[in-house]
Amino acid sequence: MGFRRFFHRTRADADHVREFQSFLEIETDENLARGMSPQAARRAAHLKFGNPTAFREEVYEMNSIQFIEALSRDVRYALRALKAAPTFTAVSLLTLALGIGATTAIFTVIDHVILQPLPYPAAGRLVTAWETNPTSHLPGKPPGSVGFSPGNYLDLRDQNRSFAQIGAFYTASYNLEGGAAPVRATAGLISAALFRALGVRPAIGRPFTQSDDTAAAERVAIISHSLWRERFSGSAGAIGSAIRLDGQSHTIVGVMPPGFRLFEQDVDVWLSLERKTSPQNLHWRWSYYLTVVARLKDGVSIDQARQDVDRVVQGIRRQYPGDLGQGGLVVPLLDQTIASARKPLWILFGAVAFVLLIACANVAHLSLGRAITRRREMVLRQALGAGRGRLVRQLFTESLMLALGGAAAGVLLAQWGVRALLKLASNEIPRAAEVHLDGWVLGFAALAAVTSAVVFGLLPALAGSKADLQQGLQENGRSGSGGPGARAGRRALVVSEIALALVLMIGAGLMIGSFRRVSAVDPGFAPHGLVTMRVSLSPNQYGSPDKQNDFYQRLIARLRAVPGLRSVSAVDGLPFTNGGFDNSFSIDGRPDPPPGQPLRADIRRIDPGYFAAMGISLLEGRTFSEADRIDAPPVAIISQSMAREYWPQERVLGKRLTIHFGPPEGIGAEIVGVAADVHGALDAAPVDDIYLHYPQGRYVGQMDLVLRPEPHSHMELSTLSSVVRAAVASIDPDQPVYRVHAMDDLLSVSLATRRFEMLLLAVFAALAGCLAAVGLYGVLAYSVQARTREIGIRTALGASHAQVSGMILREALQLAFTGVAGGVLGALALTRLLSNLLYGVRPTDAFTFASVALLLLAVAISAGYLPARKAARINPVIALRHEC
């Protein structure tokens, strides 16, 4: 290699000068011995040697640029060779660009979502802590766990030995007053220690301190960067001014940096959790709503921390036997933040890696085919003195040029792809704001290019350069089939392409099947045409149920008077919006369940017209009436599956429940009706629902209005929302109306992640199928060309066109069957990975496997059609003269 000399050339140069000097001396000595005069002897020696300076320069140059020059010669030659085969080059470039582009795009997302640490200092040491409870599967929490209750959190804070800092967090919403119209603001309630644990500070102003956490402290707030710009036009004067939340004034002490988010939630204003929570609630043990975030002490592992949290929770359990928590759980903050997105992303990456492999296999047999047709060229160059290594290097340079070209185009494609991905699914991908193409990703693309160049370039190059001199020259222009080895190699490549494509296509088929089934699920109500929006009442002005009920009653009455609205109703938590709250209850006359395992159901407090407005059928009994007032005996309606679960053989109507909320003794209610099941999400089984008439449900701080316009009224969403805003403002101009949605959109959003995963997998599968078909076509077309003579002889001996094309199609099917068999085996092994993403379809669903396999066979036959037709049209006279 020239490298060593390149770096030692100065030292080497001095050595050469001495060497040339010694040559001149020796030569002069010999001339003297021959009897020349000293002068003539020196002159002759110099003449013989030539110009030492020019010579030194030459050697010096040779050492410094030899390898660079060789490289540039290789590159130039490679470019010329590629230009001479434009179809080959174009197809290879396109294939590689697609493969590398798709892989790079998905890798970009994975890199920023999964691989890069969260944007906090030493983010790897940040964790979240949970109490385990096997029966709980709540959104936003690790499966089988619940958050900490405030009282339990205080115990963990004081008793743990693993955390350097520990803080708690939950979100709530407040009416933010003082703007042009009332708005609902999302507040993050945090302990002062939370920002310290994360290692973040406000961009302007100060963070919370321990003294802000006390009940007597002034009410302070840290606002988000966007609220700062919106309300204070980004002025530094914001610090020290006040904002009003639910009628209470808070002094702004800080502004967070732009884009700061915790758990992917957009928070408008940060408040002190301890200050905002009443002392009584701060020690409450039975509501598990806090997310605990902590920074591990140096040297403490996740598992040690888990054991520590477990120890504290076991202590709590001994003291309070009814605690929901049965143990402790510690999850890295990153895992908790990206939670459910991790696995689908890796699956997509796997899928896209398959596409890249297929692309490489395609280019590999394109190159192999080309290497065979270039055998003569290789043999000739070998005869002229090129070493085998030299030829392999040349062929490898060609593949590398192709791969790098493909990678460059791929990066452009990836850039476009990432943009499209984010547009399509920025809500489905956590940390989407952090995703962009960067140096890492370019490095990845380059790596993918080099790897694929090795895979598709080096092997054919090695095979192609193995040409034997004499045999090669004697082949005399006959384009031989490339020997049985190369042929088997190409067939193996195309078979594995088909197998890989089939695995992807089956995966996509399962996803599509799941999506079809999930979309067809009856949610239990009639979403089409429904519009919903939320009204929240400030607890300061509406501190009592009487005031709240009065407001809701008047609002609903006003809206019912609006022409064009067929039905108007309200519920305190709508399905498909995480509405309704999980609560425990007991059945009168039955023994209490063991502590820690209460009966649970979602409590929904509704207006009597709710079932009619939503289109939920009432199966038994009656709905609520205005007579079920706050002072009347409480009544409840339960969902069908709940009725079947608890009273399978009995009459449900007339049975009594005690719902554990409101007054200390709970609400005792008689069941007066049974309603059809409603899904909380299309892909989730319906949960047990207990409906109450809202005046009997005590404190209702917010309502989701449910509006169904007349079908022909053509009321737009915006018209409806201004109608509702006007109605609310006519009662109280300070209360906000927000979360305006068409119910259809909410359903569709609930399927967005699924749709996104299905769509991407389907695109990759289609790409894989097309590439495999192109590969198969290439092999068959080549095989027809190579067998021209044989086919000519067959035709001359009386084989019909059908027989000839049948022969080619048989070859196509043979390859396809082998590939399909391999693909089915691969899919059986791999689709298990999808099982969490599927709905109503088993990972080994026979129908999907069979129909996708048939589809791929059909594709194989159509890929074989053109070569078969070409074979059938071979004219025996021309064919027999062919290559003679």
């Binding site: 010694s22 020796i26 040697f49 030539g50 010579f55 040779m62 005869a383 003195g385 020259l473």
Partner: protein, 110 residues
């Protein structure tokens, strides 16, 4: 008539020369010229680059020594890899000569 050494064969000739023992550049040139009956003419401008190239590939090793006339000179000797290379190049050369003469004189082969 004197002629330049055919491209690519100088390396082989240098290796062959050194097979019988270490020598310095001037001797190598002289041995090849004499061995070819002065038919081949070794340019110093191609000899030294060839020597450095071969040393680079590990086929030659060099050391500074003294000539019989007490002059300092750089000597080259064949490494085991160089010896192997010589055998390989020689047999390749033989094959090629056969192949090319087979083409040039097809009649003589049948």
């Amino acid at each position: 008539m004197q002629t330049e050494v055919l491209q690519g064969t100088l390396d082989m000739l240098v290796l062959k020369t050194l097979a019988s023992g270490p020598a310095h550049g001037q001797t190598i040139a002289k041995v090849i010229e004499r061995g070819s009956g002065e038919f081949l003419q070794i340019e110093q401008g191609s000899l030294y680059p060839a020597l450095y190239r071969l040393e680079d590939r590990g086929w030659l090793a060099s050391f500074w020594g003294t000539t019989e006339n007490n002059r300092k000179a750089k000597y080259y000797r064949l490494t085991p890899a160089g010896r192997k290379q010589l055998i390989e190049q020689t047999s390749r050369w033989d094959r090629m000569v056969r192949a090319i003469s087979g083409i040039l004189h097809p009649a003589s082969e049948s």
